[in-house]
């Protein structure tokens, strides 16, 4: 059945280009399936465009705050349009990494110990004096990340407490709060969950250095193995963690969990992404491919889920 689909992509953050790549790939896939697809940006004319076009379903391929934190989801609810991906609450919970982590821990997932500090804490409460204590508590090897935001932007690896303040300052360019986490060494994997079912874990092996922005979005810069080359019981535990997190925020349709499996085989859950990337180098499509679901089919599945849910 040919549908009228609006693919939302773009936005106004440093992830705009990634979002447009996802959006373009999805648009082509859905057109190949015979649907009538219009790509729309997240800007002042969005509501007007949606009112004019009234699509059967909205496919979200947006990255960055307005697209992933519940803002656009809320608007689409008001407009009465079915859309792909988790709803307002699930999106806003997962978007805030510290809140998400709190929920995953409460649900029984292994999450690295962390501390969250806001800009306000520094500006008004003298939090700078606590940083040495944070390092004492969490250990020398730390990951400093913005409390919200993706694509590895603003993330710094710190192995000397003296570097911590600068790393915190850098993360504050991206978010009002910073998450300081104990660094887990091990194998990086991503487990996507599609309609409640985990897809094969994708093992991430950057050719050089860390899985940073360049490694994420340059074709060939990273090698992937799916399923991840880990023992079955470890893969099982990772899948369980991913689905537990998905359920903990009340997600639906799709999400991607990022984990690190340490040398003891314990999967540590880092975060849940409720609007995972769909570019040629993104992890959700790779996981789907490993499960025998081609990109076109994946997009169609998400569209079907959005419409089935609407029918419920």
């Amino acid at each position: 059945m040919s549908l009228s689909i609006a693919v939302l992509a773009g936005g106004i953050s440093l992830e705009r280009e990634v979002s447009l790549r996802s959006g373009n790939r999805v648009t082509n896939a859905l057109r190949d399936r015979g649907h009538r697809v219009a790509m729309m940006d997240l800007d002042g004319s969005l509501v007007e465009s949606l009112d004019a076009g009234v699509p059967d379903v909205v496919f979200l391929a947006v990255h960055g705050a307005a697209g992933e934190d519940g803002t656009v989801q809320s608007m689409l609810e008001v407009l009465g349009l079915p859309y792909t991906g988790p709803d307002v609450l699930a999106s806003s919970l997962a978007w805030n990494k510290p809140i998400g982590q709190g929920l995953y821990r409460r649900a029984g997932c292994r999450v690295p110990p962390s501390v969250t500090l806001s800009q306000q804490a520094f500006r008004e409460l003298g939090a700078a004096r606590t940083l040495a204590r944070v390092a004492d508590e969490l250990g020398r090897d730390l990951v400093v990340k913005p409390a919200t935001g993706g694509s590895s932007l603003g993330i710094a690896m710190v192995s000397d407490p003296a570097e911590l303040p600068r790393a915190v300052l850098g993360a504050f360019s991206y978010a009002d709060a910073v998450l300081i986490e104990r660094r887990i060494e091990g194998t990086e994997i991503a487990v996507s969950v599609l309609d409640g079912e985990p897809l094969p874990a994708v093992e991430i092996a950057p050719r050089d250095g860390d899985y940073d922005f360049a490694a994420r979005y340059t074709a060939g810069a990273t090698t992937f193995h799916a399923p991840a080359r880990l023992p079955d019981d470890v893969l099982e535990a990772a899948s369980t963690a991913a689905t537990t997190a998905y359920e903990a925020v009340g997600a639906r349709h799709v999400s991607r969990a990022d984990l690190i499996v340490d040398e003891d085989g314990t999967p540590w859950l880092l975060e849940l992404d409720t609007c995972p990337g769909l570019t040629e180098t993104s992890l959700l499509p790779l996981g789907a491919e490993a499960a025998g679901i081609g990109f076109d089919a994946l997009c169609q599945r998400l569209v079907d889920l959005a419409l089935n849910h609407e029918r419920d």
Binding site: I12, S13, L14, E15, R16, E17, V18, L20, D43, Q119, F122, R123, A127, A128, R129, L131, A132, L153, G154, A162, P165, R166, V168, L169, G170, F172, S173, Y174, V202, F213, A214, R216, Y217, T218, A219, G220, A221, T222, T223, F224, H225, A226, P227, E280, T281, L286, E289, A290
Partner: protein
């Protein structure tokens, strides 16, 4: 199963392997959004051109010269245009003959052809620090080792060159050329003084160096002043590059180089391998425009537009910039080069600036060695003066806020923790 996002990776030539997605390039996708006052791209004020005249010129070219305009041409470019470009060069006192010129697709192609002609992997090019990002790109794509010489308000600090040359010689490195943008440089906004031009030429003689003189902005001095070109001072040693992008329009993609005959021949062969020939259509439009329009008057109009915009930016910086921020004072061209006080980092600040709806290019874009974190480039050529003032206010707010936040996070302005 192993999944490769780039199944061709084992096949690529080594010169391509280093090329990667970068956050700075991601910037440009966002900077074009109308909500953002963008000081990022160096876009000329094409609205200051008389579009009616250009329309007539283009129509006449097709009507009267369609058979030539729509056909392949020679690799060196149409003689008619080369002769007209010699006149353009003469307006700045740069000596040339039409047969030394090769018409290129923008000045960028000229830089790339020169790099392709001279650079083997690991060869050194000496450039100003900072230097034009397109220059770095052209040279890096041919695996050059780009070394920077610092600048001040008089351009490249040429007296630091001998020490660098000695150091390179001791390391067994081959220096193929010195790349300079001597007039109203992109990004630093300063020009190489006459005294330093002479010094540079003398050094080039002494060390037998080739110089690549890249001159897109020589005619865009706000007062119309020009300095003797390096080419005028030493014709045999200087490869000259320029473009119609800023004196006419970038959309036609017409630039050129002037080189001694043996080099020119090699460059023509290389360009034929790249794109066969420049567009006859574009060339004829430019040649005809130069013939029928008082183009020097048009250049004066551009100067006025850019002067007004520069003044708006400099005035707004003067009244709004927090203490410790310094910047160059351009007397032409498109750019202001800003230096931030410690501990501010222009690459880290970019996301915050975008969130405040202002864009710039972080300084690291203009160095091959990772420096530039304390600097950023502001381009005033495109936004209106009113927008420029709004944008600078937003930027100053970001800088001020970041200084306060740095104080709160790092403890002191110099970064010591309490």
């Amino acid at each position: 199963m192993r999944l490769d996002t780039d199944p061709y990776i084992a096949r690529y030539a080594t010169r391509v392997r280093g090329m990667a997605a970068s956050e700075i390039r991601a910037l440009f996708a966002v900077a074009a959004r109308p909500e953002i006052v963008s000081f990022a791209g160096g876009m000329p004020a094409v609205e200051a051109l008389d579009h009616t005249v250009i329309e007539e010129v283009a129509a006449r070219v097709i009507r009267d010269h369609g058979a030539v305009a729509l056909q392949y041409g020679g690799g060196q470019g149409l003689l008619q245009l080369r002769e007209a470009l010699v006149e353009v060069m003469a307006a700045e006192g740069v000596p040339a003959h039409a047969d030394e010129l090769v018409v290129t697709v923008g000045g960028q192609q000229a830089l790339e052809l020169i790099a392709k002609c001279f650079l083997d992997r690991g060869d050194v090019v000496i450039a100003e620090g900072p230097t034009y990002v397109g220059g770095i790109g052209a040279m890096s794509s041919h695996e050059a080792d780009v070394r920077h010489v610092p600048m001040d308000e008089h351009g490249m600090q040429v007296d630091l060159l001998p020490a660098l040359l000695d150091q390179l010689a001791a390391a067994g490195k081959t220096v193929k050329y010195v790349y300079t943008v001597p007039n109203h440089q992109n990004p630093a906004g300063v020009s190489l003084s006459l005294e330093r031009r002479r010094q540079l030429i003398a050094l080039a003689e002494e060390h037998d160096l080739l110089i690549v003189e890249d001159n897109p902005y020589g005619l865009l001095d706000f007062e119309g002043r020009t300095l003797p070109s390096l080419k005028e001072l030493d014709p045999a040693r200087v490869l000259y590059v320029s473009t119609m992008s800023k004196t006419f329009a970038p959309g036609v993609r017409v630039g050129w180089l002037a080189a001694p005959a043996p080099v020119r021949e090699k460059l023509v062969l290389l360009r034929e391998a790249a794109d066969l020939c420049p567009s006859n259509l574009s060339q004829l439009v430019v040649a005809e425009w130069l013939r029928v329009v008082d183009w020097e008057q048009q250049v004066k109009r551009f100067r006025e537009v850019y002067r007004e915009r520069a003044e708006a930016m400099l005035g707004a910086l003067e009244s709004g910039a927090p203490e410790g921020v310094t910047w160059t004072q351009p007397t032409g061209g498109f750019y202001v080069w800003v230096t931030l006080p410690a501990p501010l980092d222009s690459s880290e600040l970019l996301a915050k600036a975008l969130a405040h709806r202002v864009a710039y290019v972080p300084g690291t874009g203009f160095f091959a060695d990772g420096s530039g974190r304390r600097q950023l480039r502001l381009c005033y050529s495109f936004p209106t003066p009113a927008r420029i003032v709004v944008g600078v206010e937003r930027l100053c707010d970001v800088l001020r806020d970041e200084l306060d936040l740095s104080q709160a996070v790092l403890g002191t302005a110099t970064g010591e923790t309490p």
